[in-house]
């Protein structure tokens, strides 16, 4: 990543008609340039290479069908690391043919399989029906031990009209209809039969144990085998019609037991055969799919690349002689040599007689912004770009964000223990990044965390540092160097006795007493403050002042960066002076108070805020000055700041006016010429803009400085939450001293760990992340960054999304 975006140029590519496909393929592999659309008025149906794109889409359709079949058969598609190149046009026909053949084969096999399965279902149903109706008839005969038996009457004839076998008995025909019906319809069926046939039918039914799949709908339903015995022809017709109406599967009812046994046997053999055939079909299908899966990945990539190339070719226009394709591209100036090399390579591959070449052309359009980044800086670049892509050749805040963003996060998050957990988590993500990239999970939240792994790592490391300074580790302090405050000294100097300690619940150490305070803790906050009741009085004052100091320095840095951005760069001077004279002086006062006042004159230590406000209203008479000459200096600084405002307001308009009148320019040599060529200079317009900018800046200084106090607020919230969690959860576990306490400590620690991770790490982490981001986007970047540019999107095969990946097929 660099300081500002790269220099771009507009170039024209002249591609010879034989080799244009290969040239574009080379460019796509390298990802160097962004193509412009030279035919914006042409609809997508009228472009030149529409038929080729249609062919690619047809191939994609077949590939989609193929991948879905492969996924259904649960075969894994092997993916190679190296992606294959786009195929030359002659190879395309081969691939197309192969794909079409595969599609036909697969659909035929699927059709056959379907037919076989239907057959199998019928046979299975028939078997069930036969078995169950046998039990009906035999059970009936058992019940009617004294009653008439079903005699073995000879069949009259199979009545073709009703299709049911009949037995003649007593002159009337007794007919049987048997079959299967869905379980859900049985009651309605029975009721209908009763109503229509008025008791001339007897229906017996039993549910089948096995659930059979209904091939039309694909559902698995329970079926019921029924046997209807009826008297008379008319009834037979009616029953037939009712059965049709309820979509029953009817099967011929056998006359007697021997016939039944024969049919059962033959059915059994047929079912066995069918199962065999089905297995063989399955195996064959699997084989075909396995073979296809081996080259599926390569095909997908090749078709994707081909389609992309034809899209790009559609953006180009033909020149006058109609033999050469012209493309307009944005190319980084530093990559022009690579571009030429790629075109030569493509021309050689395409066996063109005349090689393709590049011609740089001047342009008045604003080029897109390119900022190169590696895997570490991409995360930080993306959080800057989420606010806005920088203008062309504008200073980018991204390289500074790498450090200042984690630092500001850590100031708000500062806890040694939590920082260590965060760093370890990020370190794990970084070390296993190759595997994670291969897995390509579809969980969006996880992918968001994974893309920000370097950011989280930096945030964690800085949090460890600020945690050491705040001396806060899971709300406990570390005492590495020995505290600078001594309780013993209060006793040895007769300030306290044992009686004072017994009678008073709270006592305050007095730094005025000798040897009570012996120097500041060398690294961070003294550990005694963790034990003190008035801890927050000290910490709040410290953190608020720290926030203001950090904020003023951060903002000054932003103003200094605007030197490189603003058109009239000298304008950064009044802005900086305004900021430093007012808020820099505030920082000076804070530091002065820290250094000049100590315990022995603490009663005269003034309030910084009162002095600051008095400076503005110029009323320094009543309060004792901080230092001699304070009033004079403050008036002086205030005057400078007030004088900066009109300079800020009128500087730029007057300068432009003077320039237009023919004055010498103060511009430095720079590539950006866009806003300089102001021919129609509208004084009122520029003045208005500059007035808005001045007001925004001056008021913004005050509000932005106050905004940095969120550093104090969030760090206080984090520390308090941490302390509450310890006191309410972990300490309860430690208080129980029996053996039960040891066992009880295990779930207590589990609860502590869960709440730490979910509330303190995730919730507070996200909150601090958001606030640090806001401080960057608003308070820091509005001093110098516009962010209204367009991002450079090169034509790169690896950046193209694959439709199949999105569907989860690949």
């Amino acid at each position: 990543m660099v300081f500002r975006s790269e220099e771009m140029c507009l170039a024209q590519l002249f591609l010879q008609s034989g080799s244009e496909y290969d040239c574009i393929s080379e460019l796509g592999e390298l990802g160097l340039v962004e193509f412009r659309d030279l035919n914006p008025s042409v609809s997508s149906f009228q472009r030149r290479f529409v038929s080729e794109i249609k062919r690619c889409e047809e191939m994609e359709r077949i590939l989609g069908f193929l991948l879905r079949e492969i996924q259904k058969a649960k075969i894994a598609v092997p993916q190679e690391d190296e992606s294959p190149l786009a195929p030359p046009p002659r190879q395309v026909l081969e691939i197309m043919e192969q794909l079409q053949r595969l599609e036909m084969e697969l659909s035929e096999v699927a059709k056959n399989k379907d037919k076989l399965q239907r057959n199998l279902l019928e046979l299975t149903e028939y078997t069930h029906m036969l078995k169950i109706t046998r039990s009906f008839i035999h059970s009936r005969s058992r019940h009617e031990a004294l009653g008439p038996q079903y005699e073995e009457f000879p069949t009259m004839e199979t009545d073709s009209a009703t299709g049911s076998t009949g037995m003649q008995r007593l002159g009337a025909k007794l007919g049987f209809i048997s079959g299967l019906i869905q379980r859900v319809k049985v009651e309605a069926f029975e009721r209908m039969l009763w109503r229509v046939c008025k008791g001339y039918t007897i229906l017996s039914y039993t549910e089948v144990d096995e659930s059979l799949a209904d091939l039309d709908t694909g559902e698995i339903n329970k079926s019921v085998v029924f046997l209807i015995s009826f008297w008379g022809d008319q009834i037979g017709h009616k029953v037939q019609k009712i059965c049709d109406c309820y979509h029953c599967h009817l099967y011929p009812h056998p006359e007697n037991d021997e016939e039944r046994a024969d049919v059962l046997d033959s059915l059994r053999t047929r079912i066995q055969d069918l199962n065999n055939v089905l297995h063989r079909t399955d195996d064959y299908l699997r084989q075909v799919l396995q073979k296809a899966a081996e080259s599926a990945y390569a095909w997908v990539v090749q078709v994707k690349k081909m389609k992309a190339i034809y899209h790009i070719l559609n953006l180009c226009s033909f020149d006058v002689t109609n033999k050469c394709l012209i493309a307009e591209v944005w190319c980084p100036v530093s990559d022009l040599a690579n571009l030429r090399g790629a075109l030569e390579k493509g021309s050689r591959k395409g066996d063109a007689t005349v090689p393709s070449f590049v011609n740089r052309i001047p342009s008045s359009d604003t080029p897109p912004t390119l900022l190169r980044s590696n895997k570490f800086t991409t995360g930080f670049q993306s959080i800057v770009e989420a606010y806005g892509v920088g203008d062309y050749r504008e200073v980018s805040p991204a390289p500074y964000t790498i450090i200042t963003f984690p630092f500001l996060f850590a100031v708000m998050f500062g806890d040694l223990g939590h920082g260590m957990i965060m760093s370890l988590f990020a370190l794990w993500m970084v070390l296993t990044e190759k595997n994670q990239k291969k897995k390509r999970s579809s969980n969006e939240i996880w992918m968001t965390f994974f893309h920000g792994r370097y950011i989280i790592l930096m945030m964690g490391l800085f949090s460890i540092y600020t945690g050491l300074i705040y001396n806060d580790c899971f709300s406990k302090s570390l005492n590495i160097f020995g505290s600078g405050w001594s309780v013993k000294a209060m006793f040895t100097n007769q300030q306290w006795t044992n009686k004072t300690v017994q009678t008073n619940a709270l006592l305050t150490l007095d730094p005025n007493v000798s040897r009570v305070f012996s120097g500041p803790y060398p690294f961070g906050i003294d550990p005694i403050w963790n034990l003190a009741v008035n801890r927050l009085s000290f910490l709040n004052s410290y953190k608020m002042k720290m926030s203001v100091i950090v904020g003023v320095i951060h903002m000054s840095f932003g103003v200094v960066l605007s030197v490189f951005n603003h058109f009239v760069y000298l304008l950064f001077l009044p802005e900086l002076l305004f900021l430093i004279c007012l808020f820099g002086y505030l920082v000076f006062m804070i530091l002065y108070k820290w250094l000049a006042f100590s315990a022995h004159n603490s009663s005269q230590a003034p309030s910084i805020l009162i002095h600051f406000i008095n400076m503005f209203v110029m009323q320094g008479k009543d309060v004792t000055p901080l230092y001699p000459g304070q009033t004079g200096l403050q008036v002086f600084l205030l005057l400078i700041a007030v004088m900066c405002v009109p300079v800020l307001l009128l500087g730029k308009p007057l300068y432009l006016y003077w320039q237009q009148r023919g004055g010498k320019g103060l511009r430095r040599r720079r590539v950006i010429n866009i806003s300089c060529t102001v021919l129609q200079f509208d004084f009122a317009d520029v003045l208005m803009h500059q007035a808005i900018h001045t007001i925004e800046y001056c008021l913004g200084c005050v509000s932005n400085t106050a905004s940095y106090l969120r550093l104090w607020a969030l760090s206080l919230a984090h520390a308090q939450l941490s302390e509450v969690l310890w006191a309410m959860v972990m300490r309860l576990g430690f208080k129980i001293t029996t053996k039960v306490g040891v066992v009880f400590l295990v779930p207590v620690f589990g609860l502590f760990a869960t709440l730490t991770v979910s509330i303190l790490l995730v919730m507070e982490g996200l909150s601090a992340f958001l606030h640090a981001l806001r401080l960057h986007w608003v308070e820091f970047q509005n001093k110098f960054y516009h962010g209204t540019g367009v991002k450079f999107l090169p034509f790169d095969f690896s950046q193209l999304p694959s439709v199949f990946e999105q569907d989860g097929l690949l």
């Binding site: 660099v2 590696n374 390289p399 500074y400 790498i402 450090i403 630092f407 100031v411 300074i469 160097f481 020995g482 505290s483 600078g484 405050w485 001594s486 309780v487 013993k488 006793f491 300690v501 017994q502 008073n504 619940a505 709270l506 006592l507 305050t508 150490l509 007095d510 730094p511 305070f517 012996s518 120097g519 500041p520 803790y521 060398p522 690294f523 961070g524 906050i525 003294d526 403050w529 034990l531 003190a532 009741v533 008035n534 801890r535 000290f538 004052s541 410290y542 002042k545 720290m546 100091i549 320095i553 530091l591 820290w594 250094l595 000049a596 006042f597 100590s598 315990a599 603490s602 230590a605």
Partner: protein, 81 residues
């Protein structure tokens, strides 16, 4: 009670962060990432040094002392130096 001076830590940490922020940038090998690494080193040194400095200056001349519970005082009297 450990007697701490202001001078010793000041010298130590100033030299440490000066090494990181001023000397180390010259030791970074040439490469495409040199600019980013140098910027990062300088910014890290500035941020960390500033943060430490604020912490120590805020405690150098305390205007009031910690208020402790009597149990804490009893404990500290015997167990801390």
């Amino acid at each position: 009670m450990a007697s701490h001076s202001l001078a010793l830590p000041m010298i130590c940490f100033t030299t440490l962060w000066a090494l990181v922020g001023v000397v180390a940038p010259f030791l970074v090998p040439k490469g495409p990432n040199r600019g980013v690494i140098v910027t990062s080193l300088i910014l890290t040194a500035v941020c960390c040094y500033l943060f430490w400095l604020i912490a120590i200056l805020a405690q150098a001349n305390p205007l009031f002392g910690p208020q402790l519970k009597n149990e804490t005082i009893w404990y500290l009297q015997y167990y801390w130096e």
